[in-house]
Symmetry: C2
Subunit: 191 residues, 2 copies
């Protein structure tokens, strides 16, 4: 049971650019996934948030009311699904820092989860939005695993420069807002 | 928001057989999945139950306490993961009836979900336990979709005989309690 950070409904970034239409990474990804689904491109969806239910009231006949519950530390990632027959799995994170992504934003269980995805032939990655810089990167799971291991004895974050070097920038678009499958195509399905 | 049936922690069946060690389908599947994971056979896990959070209290600094929430109608299935590089997705259901599985146990969204799984090249199915008969069947998603469509204008259930004909019985075991991947091997990975 942890103090789970609630998602803000709107991001307030200082820079104002044409592409920055009130960036909320989760909303933008959900919108993109809906586009993928309705155009039969992929079937990728958000998992429910894990909640530990402690007490349920049955006062009303129509609905059980949960009166005590707590957010649990997520053991998996936010999104998964299928693309071109392959298992897709990823986590999406925003950071306000301009220089690095703090590793504490990703839990150990999630890193283990991504390792399992790779081991069994799935495609895993993390999408990180540097909101203050208006930049979004996709970084493959094996790098995340490596950086997580580094953080146990060394640097506790992934620098922005490392995202530039090892990650892949996703340009925000209008129809497909966060077209991460374009990167996945380049990485895994190039002819 | 619906009156979500709570899982009983133990099933009380009338017959007592060697294999019926307090059958709880969910617990048996979780145990099997743990076996698959720890033996590097597959990575398949249970999704969180979807809950609609209405009110959160921040009285204590250490933990946000959810004080009002409701179970949502599930839009996806209970389990998913990867096996031999393929996307695996299924729902598990128990029924006490001896003659048929009532179609109302599966929601329309879940049927759409299974249709999407098939469409994008994943492996989808339903595991149904007839607890009074001590029988467990795996039925592939395309049959579930067909029977669901039939239920809109005709019979509102899948008969036990149809499980025998179109499904695949899973014998409960000791180490791998509900070894559903054995059936998946026969159906999708036969040499």
């Amino acid at each position: 049971m942890i103090n789970y950070p609630l998602k803000r409904s709107l991001m307030h970034t200082k820079s104002v650019s044409a592409s920055n239409r009130g960036m909320d990474l989760e909303a933008a990804i959900n919108e993109t996934n809906e586009y993928y689904i309705s155009n039969d491109i992929a079937y990728i969806y958000k998992k429910p948030i894990p909640i530990q239910v402690v007490k349920v009231d049955y006062e009303r006949r129509s609905a059980a009311r949960i009166s005590e519950a707590y957010y649990k530390i997520p053991s998996t990632t936010d999104y998964n699904g299928i693309y071109k027959g392959k298992y897709i799995d990823f986590e999406a994170k925003e950071t306000k820092t301009k220089t690095a992504f703090p590793m504490k934003n990703i839990h150990e269980h999630q890193v283990n989860h991504l390792e399992n995805i790779i081991k069994h032939g799935g495609i895993g990655f993390v999408i990180v939005a540097f909101t203050a810089l208006d930049k979004i990167f996709l970084m493959e799971a094996h790098y995340i695993v490596d950086f997580y291991k580094r953080s146990e004895n060394g640097r506790k974050s992934i620098s922005y420069a490392e995202f530039v070097t090892f990650g892949h920038e996703i340009k925000e678009g209008y129809v497909k807002r966060i077209d991460y499958l374009k990167i996945i195509d380049q990485l895994y399905f190039q002819l």
